[in-house]
């Protein structure tokens, strides 16, 4: 049986958490290494599975000038790693009314004029833990190509690492959210079968059948369940 917290004999590595050295087992993620070292986290931790973007982390490795950026829950510690969790990203989001904005590049630029300050340095792309083509998305936004922005940024977790590194001070993930909603609401083709199904529901087409199901005994429901026709794979 699998158990939580299986203790295994592993080699130890030294990591510097906000400047202080700690010995932790090799092979742990940064998040688990911090906990092993005794940190009880409230900031810098969320889903622990690479989906929420709460654990944005920056680090350096010995003998390497680069500043790396990644998610603490998805990155394995390395010996000599110097790291800091980012508790939050200060980035201003502009409110808007989805029903009133146009699905065009002007909308993006009107709300986020700093997009035009992009110097194409590609730092955002290098900072992205999801390995998205962030700078290409900025360029697509400048061209007003909303479908492209939506496609390139779909896997964005809003961790804020690109935004913290950007010399043009663009709040990328807020722009991406706006672009994706513009795409989904206005530019993506509408699902005709869905519209028809809602009409059917409103006309009460399924009422009688559901009413009847509600009156059936467990045994009768079981018989119907067994007789269901399974759509082929």
């Amino acid at each position: 049986m699998n158990r939580v917290g299986v203790e295994t004999k592993t080699e130890m590595v030294t990591v510097y958490i906000m400047g202080q050295a700690y010995q932790v087992p090799a092979g742990l993620t940064i998040l688990k290494a911090m906990e092993y070292a005794g940190f009880r986290l409230t900031r810098g931790v969320g889903c622990r599975g690479g989906f929420c973007g709460a654990c944005a982390t920056v680090y350096r490795l010995p003998g390497d000038y680069r500043l790396y950026a990644d998610l603490a829950c998805q990155t394995t510690v390395k010996d000599g790693m110097y790291l800091a969790l980012l508790p939050s990203t200060p980035a201003q989001r502009k409110p808007y009314d989805l029903r009133k904005v146009k699905p065009s590049g002007e909308t993006l630029l009107a709300l986020y004029p700093e997009l035009a300050r992009c110097v194409a340095c590609n730092t955002c792309t290098k900072a992205c833990p999801q390995k998205l083509e962030v700078m290409d998305a900025v360029q697509a936004a400048l061209r007003g190509d909303i479908p492209k922005v939506a496609e390139l940024t779909f896997d964005c977790l809003s961790c804020g690492l690109c935004t913290m590194r950007c010399p043009a001070e663009i709040p990328h993930y807020h722009v991406w959210q706006l672009a994706r909603r513009l795409y989904g609401a206005y530019l993506a083709p509408k699902a005709e079968h869905l519209r028809r199904r809602l009409e059917e529901l409103q006309s009460g087409k399924f009422q009688a059948e559901l009413d009847r199901l509600m009156t059936l005994s467990k045994e009768e429901l079981k018989e119907l369940y067994k007789a269901r026709e399974i759509e082929p794979e």
Partner: protein
């Protein structure tokens, strides 16, 4: 070079050898009787030593896992006498406890029902959106296609729950489902579609029709971030890092808000509300029976504790959902979710010998039981055909390279990009090598009893999402949790708005907590445990042994 050790690679070669013969065929689906037998012998829920009857409270005598009983039978975190209720910090019409999917939907629909945004407050333990909702990968069910219907969806849900569900709740779930998808489409959720707009739908475990709508394998993330964005546009205030530690009642016995506590400044705040929606999510971080979990950090069943003290009934908490496919290797990602969509796209579960041993899409509890049977050693009644990892985990193979072989090269990376990314990070290419999986604690099937309007039966208290029970009976099907939080979040939000319009809140009290403490003492329960838990503690044992509270 493979990161799998040589002995695991040897097993992978057997998986590769049997693959051509397995392609295009499948293990037959089990009959209801065969399913029941498998569950009885191998599902962790059927181990009597894992549970005990509750000794206090409105669901006295009901069996729940020890880890849950420990919390429901615990003493309050704060002594009610130390809380000054005469100083109200926030005075609102609708308080929503929990900033995940259910809470956000409830707040939006309370607003759409006429409550001004600034008369609503969401309080949440971590950040707005940090939740199990955001982690959901595979999809959301709704009968939107012509050959499908709410009635067929109804039967699938009832059968998946072994006919233990509350049919009124199931009806609400399936009847509202197409509306929810339409609402999302209007809000700008990017569902996977054909070029003509037809939504792509696939099977999930236990579905009879392909009705799983998805947004790649980031379905939960995409829906949650759009809902959160909309709540921000509307201007609904959110208090982050403020978990609720007790509900409040007034002298008439209705729920009237909550005491919340700042994780950062460690002060409490009093929120008075005419209506309260409980949307605190589930229990994965209790690690029931020692299982790893797919759940987010805050999934500690706080809502069950709060609701129980105020007199709400609980149901089906004896049923724990173990997702069949949690990652079992490498160690860094143990327990994390591998969406059912991987099996929906054709990947088969096979044992150490490369043999297919169960249909890939049985209901989750049945699939999990089959995995456990395969892995348990023969002396414990299993087949001993699992693969043991260097750190002592055991699992079966999920033959992921089949996805691209069936659907074409590039499918896995496109349709399952989060899973692909996660494995690539740790040196495994799931389009070339299979991945090792084992059941992981995934979902709280039961919870607080509600009616089809999201009302708990306690005046002023509504509930939505994973914290409530009855919708899924004793086993939830894939794709019905995202649906659940939308359907019942909406219903609870509308009910809370309607209640708030006519409610009058009297003098605030914590009398219900004092009464609960008296009951605990009468039952002879020692004062060793406190609840709600708020967060799990994963600090190393060496540190914990020397921790003293000085500041």
């Amino acid at each position: 070079m493979s990161v799998y050790p040589e002995y695991m690679q040897e097993s992978i070669r057997r998986v590769e050898e049997t693959r051509p013969a397995r392609m295009g065929t499948n293990y037959p689906r089990l009959s209801l009787a065969e399913q029941e037998e498998l569950l009885r012998r191998y599902h962790p829920d059927y181990k009597p030593e894992g549970k005990r009857p509750l000794r206090v409270g409105p669901s006295y005598g009901e069996l729940v896992p020890h880890e849950v009983a420990d919390l429901l039978e615990a003493y309050p975190l704060v002594d009610p006498a130390r809380i000054n209720l005469s100083q109200v910090d926030y005075d609102v019409d609708v308080l929503v406890i929990g900033g995940g999917g259910a809470g956000t939907v409830a707040a939006l629909w309370a607003h759409y029902s006429g409550v001004p945004a600034d008369r609503i407050l969401i309080v949440t333990k971590l950040r707005h959106g940090d939740s199990n909702s955001i982690m959901a990968q595979g999809g959301i069910q709704a009968a939107t296609k012509p050959h499908d219907s709410p009635a067929i969806h109804f039967l699938d849900v009832m059968g998946g729950g072994h006919f233990t569900n509350d049919p009124r709740l199931v009806r609400a779930l399936v009847e509202d489902a197409p509306f929810i998808i339409k609402w999302h489409e209007e809000l700008g959720v990017m569902y996977d579609k054909e070029p003509d707009g037809t939504m792509l739908t696939i099977h999930g475990g236990g579905t009879s029709k392909k009705r799983m709508h998805s947004c790649k394998d980031y379905t939960g993330l995409e829906i949650m971030r759009v809902l959160r964005d909309e709540a921000r546009n509307v201007g609904i205030p959110v208090l982050e890092f403020h978990p609720a530690v007790e509900l409040l009642t007034d002298e008439f016995g209705q729920v009237a808000g909550a005491v919340v506590w700042s994780l950062e400044t460690e002060e409490y705040k009093v929120v008075r509300a005419k209506a309260t929606v409980l949307a605190t999510g589930g229990w994965g971080r209790l690690h029931i029976q020692g299982f790893p979990t797919t759940n987010h950090y805050g999934a500690t069943a706080d809502g069950l504790v709060l609701a129980y003290r105020v007199g709400a009934k609980l149901r089906d908490l004896d049923a724990v959902q173990y997702h069949p496919t949690g990652a079992a290797f490498p160690e860094q990602i143990v327990g994390l979710l591998i969406t059912e969509k991987v099996r929906g796209l054709g990947a088969q579960p096979v044992n150490a010998l490369g043999e297919l041993f169960v249909h890939p899409l049985e209901p989750r509890d049945v699939e999990s039981a089959a995995f456990i049977r395969e892995c348990l050693p023969p002396e414990k009644g299993g087949r001993g055909l699992g693969v043991t990892t260097p750190t002592g985990m055991v699992g079966v193979w999920l033959d992921t390279p089949m996805v691209d072989m069936i659907h074409g090269k590039g499918t896995f990376q496109r349709a399952l990009s989060s899973i692909y990314r996660m494995y690539i990070r740790f040196g495994i290419d799931p389009t070339k090598e299979p991945i090792l999986v084992y059941p992981t604690l995934h979902y709280q099937n039961g919870g607080v009893v509600i009616d089809e309007h999201g009302w708990t039966g306690i005046p002023g208290l509504f509930a939505a999402g994973e914290v409530e029970g009855g919708v899924h009976g004793k086993n939830r099907l894939m794709g019905n949790s995202l649906l659940d939080y939308n359907v019942f979040g909406r219903r609870a939000g509308m009910s809370a708005a309607a209640w708030a319009k006519k409610a009058r809140v009297g003098r605030l009290t914590l009398r219900h907590v004092e009464r609960f403490v008296e009951e605990l003492r009468r039952a002879g329960i020692p004062e060793t445990r406190r609840a709600p838990l708020l967060l799990p503690d994963y600090r190393g044992t060496k540190t914990l042994a020397r921790v003293v509270d000085l500041l």
